[in-house]
Structure formats: C-alpha cells, structure tokens
C-alpha cells in the first residue's frame, strides 16, 4: 500500500487520497512526479504480510475491507467537528489498488529518485540554514578573541537583585543557610555564577551554607561548586569551612513534601551525624524554619513549581529565594509577583549573577563573556527578524496567485 506526501503540510496521506487529511488541501494525482514521496518500502503483497509471529496486519477477526479493526471506531467515537474526521472508504484495500501499488512500486524502481516535494525542499533549506546559522553564531562569538575588546559596561543592578541582596544582608548570623542545587549539569554555566556570588556573600557574613539536592546528580554538582570556589581566588572559602553537602534528598521530587516537614526523617541519619561532628550548629536543625534562609536553584519551571507548592503547604517562616535560569523566569513571575509573595527573592539568568558579583566586587567572569552574550542575543534577534520577514514574503508569494 502506498502513501503520498501533502505538498502543503508535508504529511503522509494514502495514495488514493484526493484531499489531504491534515490540511484539507488538494493532493496532486499519483503521477511519476509524486512517486518519490511514497514513504513505504514494501508494497502490500501476500508474501509481504507478516507471519503470525509478528503483529498481524489483518488479524483473523478483521475484515480486510474494513481496514484495521477499531481504526474506524476512532472516527465514530470522535466528537470533534473536523470535516475530515470520519474515515471514508479510502481505507479499503481492493485487489485493483494492490496492483496499482505494485505498478507504482515498479515505476519508482525504474524511475529512480525524482525531484522532492516542497516539504522536502523546506527540509533541505533547513539543513543548510542550520549550518549557516551555526557558522555565523560561532564565528560571531569568537570574533572578540581576535579583535580588541570594546568596553561594555556591566549590566545595571535590577530591583529584584538588589532586593535579594538586601534580604541576604539582613540575615541572622547564627543560623545556617539552606541551598538547594536542583539544576542539571547543562545549566551549571549559567547558574553557578549566581550561586557562587551568593555563597561568597554568605561566607563574608560568616554564615554556614548547607547544600542539598533533589536531583541524583546534584551532590556531584555541589562538590563541583566547592572545588571551583576553592580554586577561584575571589570566593572567600578557606579550606571549605562554612559549607556542608547534605547530599541527595531520597525520592527526589517525591521526597520534597517530607523534606519540608521533617528533614531529619528523610535524609540519611549519618549525613546529619557527620555534619554535626563538624558544625555543631546543625544540631538545632529540625525543620527548614531552623535555617536562616532557603535558596533554591533550578532551570526547570516544573521543579521550581513543585518546591513552591510544597512550601506553601508548610510555610517556612524564612525568606525563600530562587536562583533560576532565564528560561524559567516567566513561569515563576506569577509566584514572585503574587500578593502576598510566594517567592521573596529572584535571581534569574546570567545577568543576575553578574550583577550580584559586583556587590562583593568578586567578579570572577571576564568581561568578554558578557560581550559575547550581548552579541549572541543581538545576532539571534537580527537573524530571526530578517528570516521571519523573508519567510513571510515567501509564504505570501506562494499563497497569492
């Protein structure tokens, strides 16, 4: 049995179809030009029918003329008002059609590759433009390694960052801070910056930072932060004092409700005992309220939502700060702008990290990164604008007679 690709939407349709089942546009008749669109490797022949070992194409209870059993029942059950919803007789497989398919098959073999349809050309142009864009982007970003770097002033402090800084600045010194590292390794480049800046701030205020994670890879990420902090000359961490890695929250997201209520019950007991042997102040910790602040770093809006929702159930009487990737910001703004606030502080994206660094003048990142970032955004904006206009033109040209 053969199929034909709709030139409008590029979807597969039955060869006998005259109208596309997806976009309802007219399909070209099966001339040799469209033969290359036949997506199927085998025509429907008796010897090609799968053996009973495999899934039967026509199980015994099924009348071949009805197509596959239950297939049409789909349409009967369907409530939607779509014009093409019901399945008309074009599913029927007659001998004539089988022969037709056979004929088409032979024709393709004879013809070899025929020119592709618009959707394929679209695909090709896409392959090309992907390569084109990668070259532009990479070359454009690397240019500052070869030309002298123009001075670009650091991003000005945003109100959200300032507010977060004030919250941390006014913390009680005697209580430890809880930092949740819930981001995947991919986003460490973006989020490490803010976390290190926060860590520096907490260390300067002589506050013990306790790290946990609901991601299985989290504990490794935490260790990486410690190592980087040690290497970096700017972050004040004399031989890892004032930081403790409590490890993975058993159950991941499932463990969050329990962690919010009874952190001692869910975390393995030796994680606590070992911690208390180094930092006696951990002995007083029985619930998140016993931390001076809770910082949650994640790139995933769903993870962030899970934390917010579970914390809302058992509100911690402490400030709640989110360090999030730029991609998750819009999903969290409703909680941040809620009245009363469900989030107290928000550090989003690389800008926040760069801005926060300036408070303790611990700028660890070179100015080149910020410049490359700006250029990258600019390039993308321009490319999308130009490409969008061109595409709109093409579309208009194609649709207008």
């Amino acid at each position: 049995m053969t199929s034909i690709r709709c030139p409008q939407c590029g979807e597969l349709n039955f060869a006998q179809s005259t109208v596309c089942q997806f976009c309802s546009s007219n399909l070209p008749s099966s001339s040799t030009d469209e033969l290359s669109e036949i997506g199927i490797t085998q025509p429907l022949r008796v010897e090609n029918l799968p053996s009973p070992k495999h899934a039967p194409l026509f199980p015994s209870r099924i009348n071949p003329l009805d197509g596959i059993n239950g297939l049409t029942s789909f349409a009967q059950q369907t409530p939607s008002i779509h014009p093409n919803d019901s399945l008309p007789s074009r599913l029927k497989v007659t001998d004539a059609q089988i022969e037709h398919a056979e004929l088409l098959r032979n024709l393709i073999d004879a013809e070899g590759a025929a020119p592709g349809d618009p959707s394929r050309r679209f695909g090709r142009s896409k392959h090309f433009s992907r390569f084109f864009f990668s070259v532009i982007l990479i070359v454009g970003l690397l240019i500052f390694y070869f030309v002298s770097i123009p001075e670009l002033d650091q991003p000005e402090i945003s109100p959200a960052v300032l507010q977060t800084y004030k919250i941390v600045e006014n913390l009680a010194v005697n209580l430890p801070a809880l930092l949740v590292i819930d981001y995947n390794p991919a986003y460490s480049a973006e989020l490490d910056l803010s976390i290190k800046a926060l860590l520096t701030h907490l260390a300067r205020k002589n506050i013990l930072s306790v790290f946990v994670s609901s991601l299985p890879t989290g504990p490794f990420q935490i260790e990486k932060i410690f190592n980087d902090a040690k290497k970096s000359r700017l972050v004040i961490l004399p031989d890892q004092s004032l930081v403790y890695n409590l490890g993975y929250i058993p159950g991941g997201l499932t463990g969050i409700p329990l962690f919010i209520q009874a952190p001692r019950q869910i975390m393995p007991s030796e994680a606590w005992t070992h911690g208390q042997s180094i930092y006696p102040e951990l002995m007083g910790i029985n619930s998140p309220d016993d931390f001076s602040i809770m910082v949650i770093a994640t790139e995933n809006s769903e993870t962030a939502r899970s934390w917010i929702e579970q914390i809302q159930v058992h509100p911690i009487g402490r400030p709640l700060i989110f360090v999030i990737s730029a991609q998750a910001t819009p999903a969290l703004l409703p909680y941040y702008s809620a009245i009363p606030k469900q989030i107290d502080g928000l550090l989003s994206g690389i800008e926040a990290g760069l801005q926060y660094e300036t408070f303790d003048s611990t700028s660890d990142s070179d100015s080149r990164t910020w410049l490359m970032y700006n250029l990258g955004m600019l390039l993308a904006g321009i490319l999308m604008a130009v490409g969008g206009i061109l595409n709109a033109g093409i579309t208009w040209g194609r649709h207008s007679p």
């Binding site: 142009s125 896409k126 433009s129 460490s188 260790e223 463990g255």
Partner: protein
Amino acid sequence: MGHHWNHSDGYPIEHNRWIVKRGLEETILVLIAGVSGCIVLSGYFFDIRLLNSVRLTLLNYAAILVGVVMIIGGVNIIRVHRNKILAGSPSSAHSLVLLTSFFATIAIVAFFGITSNYSAWIYENVLIPVERSLLALLAVVLLTLGVHIRHNNLNLFRMVFILTVILSLLSATEIPGIEKLRLDQVYQWLAGVLSIGGARGIILGVALGTLAAGLRLLMGIDRPYSD
C-alpha cells in the same frame, strides 16, 4: 494481571473465574491507591498528629521505593541494550559502548567510593562537557526553528509569538546603538506585565487539569496501575 492472558484459554468457566478474580484484584488495587492517596492528601488540609505521622511514614516508604524503582530502571536500560547487541542490530556497537561506560563507572564508584575524586572527575569531564555542549547545540537549533517557524501555518498567534521573541532578544542586548531604541521598556511590558497574565492563566489551567487527573485516579475512575 500481566501473566494471566497467556493462561486464559477461552474456556467459559475458567474465563468467568478469571473475570471475578480480576474484579476482586481491581477493587483491592483501587482501595490501596485511594486510601494511601487520601491519607497523604489529608495532610495538606488537616494537622492531626496521628494522621500526620502515618502520612510521613507513607511518604518515607514512597521515597525509599523510588530508590528501588531507579534500580529497576537501570536493569531495564541494561536489558534493552543487551537485547540490541544480541539481536545484532545496527546500533549494537553503540549499545556496547553504553554498557561498557555504564559498568566502568559503576566499577570506579564502587572501588573508590562515590565521594572520591574519581567520581567527581567523571562528573566534571563527562557529564558537564556533554550536557553543556548539547545545550549549546540548542542555541543553533532554536535559531533555526525560530527563523523557519512553520511559515505555511503562520497564524495570528505565531506572528505575536515570533514578534515577542525578536523584541525580547533585541531588548536584552546592551550593545551601544541598540539600547537607544529603548526596547527595554517594551520588554518591561512584555515580560513584566503581559507574560505574567498569560503564564498565570496557563498555570491555573494546568492546576485544574492536575486536580482532575489526580482525583480521577484517587476515585478509581482511572486505573493506570491495573494491567
């Protein structure tokens, strides 16, 4: 259950017994899911000491069982790729690489301990570079998707979408010249006002859907667990 259907060979009596048995099993399963769920759910509304302690115990069990589930997942991954190798599928070489790296990592972690430098080394030199590079690929992929946005289905919503994307991208840059366009003020309205409304609407909708799906399961209307 899973293995019944091999044995249920259409004899009427046998079949009826099987149906009755299944019905009983279903009821028990629904009860298990419903009761455990309701106990956990009640903790969100009441603060009764006894109920709370039971709830915490159940949550603790669930957290431990997630660990067991992960082990099962690991075994499944191994199985799938072992099958690929045995079947001599075209990707069997890759499956071999996967299994090798899997067992090598397990061996290193088991021998040196999970807190050793070597475990950290694996994370820093395998996971970090691969994931960051994959994310870097997304920059190009997203750019291509954005430019080639389905132009034969360019409707009102998509136009608004792509326009917002372009404005957001341009307003983020502080390159001299661009900032004079004062796009950042447009962005303030887009991201700080309009998008909050849309996001809150979507979030409320998802919450409603979650409510429906979850309650249907607790009420035994949906039974994804019963096979």
